[in-house]
């Protein structure tokens, strides 16, 4: 019985990982855009992003999650009903969870990327511009390789926190590892056993990604040195 319940819980790991990876992609892309925005010369844009980061980082993830999934559709639907359009929106728990996590962590990612970007000497970019390189090419060939190396420690940290934060989606009724663990715990009356299974899963993901990212860091270090000689 234990093996069956445990495999039911671990089978939900696919969903947890998909959610985490989706949120990672979203938060990285959005975080990079926000980081560039923060470094722009437009004062209003900087202020806007600062406010966004402040608000997002100042509200618990759980509160944001519940607001987006339960309150936002209700508010939109009230508006739609009032306007008499006959439409009605519904957020799927998977997308609501992924987008919310992605947006929350984009604030953290933008801070990580911003300090990474600031550590790339401006002279390199100016030199590239002087050679007439296209901004995209400057980004791909000069900025990104260095940013990857500089931002990796912070990026790793954000990823580890985010994997664990995915457990919050169980409150939206999404059948992730945590949701299944609770179901098994209540069905059997053995909460410790099955929460430990869930704990083991998150730990294994953390362990695997720590090693993976360490290997990546070593690789980036080497290619960067190779590039310099």
């Amino acid at each position: 019985m234990f093996a069956d319940f445990a495999s039911t819980i671990l089978a939900a790991g696919v969903l947890t990982l998909l959610l985490a990876l989706g949120a990672l992609v979203l938060s990285s892309v959005l975080g990079l855009v926000l980081a560039y925005g923060r470094l722009s010369r437009r004062r209003w844009l900087v202020r806007l992003i600062q406010t966004f980061n402040f608000v997002i980082r100042g509200i618990p993830d759980l509160v944001l999650m519940l607001l987006v999934f339960y309150s936002l559709p209700a508010a939109i639907n009230q508006f739609l009903e009032w306007s008499g359009s006959g439409l009605w929106v519904e957020f799927s728990p998977f997308w609501a969870g992924m987008v919310t996590l992605g947006v929350i962590f984009s604030a953290y990612m933008s801070e990580t990327f911003k300090s990474g970007l600031q550590n790339i000497p401006r002279g390199q970019i100016e030199a590239a511009e002087a050679y007439g390189l296209h901004p995209w090419r400057i980004f791909w060939r000069i900025t990104l390789p260095q940013l990857a190396r500089l931002a990796l420690p912070g990026f790793t940290n954000n990823w580890l926190v985010m994997v664990k934060a995915t457990a919050l989606v169980s409150l939206l009724g999404l059948q992730d590892v945590m949701f299944r663990a609770k179901g098994a715990a209540e069905a059997t009356g053995q909460p410790f056993t099955y929460y430990l299974v869930a704990g083991g899963f998150y730990l294994a993901v953390t362990l695997a990604s720590t090693f993976g990212l360490l290997a990546l860091a070593r690789q980036l270090e080497q290619t960067n040195h190779a590039g310099r000689t």
């Binding site: 949701f179 299944r180 715990a185 209540e186 069905a187 009356g189």
Partner: protein
């Protein structure tokens, strides 16, 4: 399964469709009424009852495991068509949701250590600690009637039993069938017993009028259909067989 979810997710905007199977939500964390089996499948009294009702009323139903916190808001918003989760009928709930006919009148019981010699009354339990699952009729009952006791509230159905066996609570109150199934029949509960009177909705309004299927307030057509189904399974003996299967000790 996942692909299906993704596909559903793609259509964020959807118009209400009556032809699709009904979305029925349950919080499968309350055996023997609703829980998951080792393969993650929904099982229990409420699940079997709902399936029988759907069959009898010729409704296409999809019963899904959901999180309790979102169930009633989800019903009001139309995310779910109905809820079955040992929902007690109360006036407060009637204001926001509709109910089918009542299908069960549950019995509530206190449970304590064998030979504890507790006097189950507000005076007898004065100064004692009562463990209870938060937000349940039992919670409302002890909160209203046992003001002199310390009430410890827990998020899950299983936690109060850990408190009881850990010696951090003197007594716990829940659905009798749940106490028997989840605790007394398990190894952990062998030194414990049901104590005090059998309580029902007739003893205190907090226990509600009975248990029913919750349906969206605007969906009176579905209320009628579900009631038809309930009447049918009452007549043909399905309900009686279910009661026997789950509640006879």
């Amino acid at each position: 399964m996942l692909r299906l979810k993704l596909a559903l997710a793609m259509s964020l905007l959807a118009a209400p469709a009556l032809a699709a199977p009904l979305n029925i939500a349950t919080d499968a964390t309350f055996p023997p009424f609703e829980s998951i089996d080792a393969n993650g499948k929904l099982v229990g009294y409420d699940i079997e009852l709902m399936e029988a009702v759907c069959k009898a009323a010729a409704l296409e139903c999809n019963i899904a495991n959901a999180a309790w916190d979102g169930m009633i808001p989800g019903l009001i918003d139309g995310k779910y068509d109905a809820l079955i989760s040992q929902l007690t009928v109360t006036d407060k709930r009637r204001r926001v949701i509709a109910f089918s006919d009542i299908y069960s009148h549950p019995t509530f019981r206190f449970v304590a250590k064998k030979g504890a010699g507790l006097d189950i009354s507000p005076e007898g339990l004065a100064g004692k600690t009562i463990a209870v699952q938060t937000g349940t009729p039992m919670d409302a009952y002890v909160t209203a009637h046992y003001p002199q006791s310390t009430i410890k509230r827990y998020d899950t159905g299983s936690a109060p039993y850990l408190e009881l066996t850990g010696g951090r609570a003197d007594v716990h109150i829940s659905y009798q069938a749940q106490v028997v199934h989840s605790f007394l029949k398990s190894g952990a509960g062998k030194d414990y017993e049901l104590v005090g009177p059998e309580l029902t909705g007739a003893d205190a309004p907090e226990f509600g009028e009975g248990v029913a299927i919750a349906i969206g307030k605007r969906n009176s057509e579905l209320v009628e259909k579900v009631n038809e189904g309930l009447a049918k399974i009452r007549e043909d003996g399905t309900l009686e067989a279910l009661n026997k299967k789950y509640f006879e000790q």
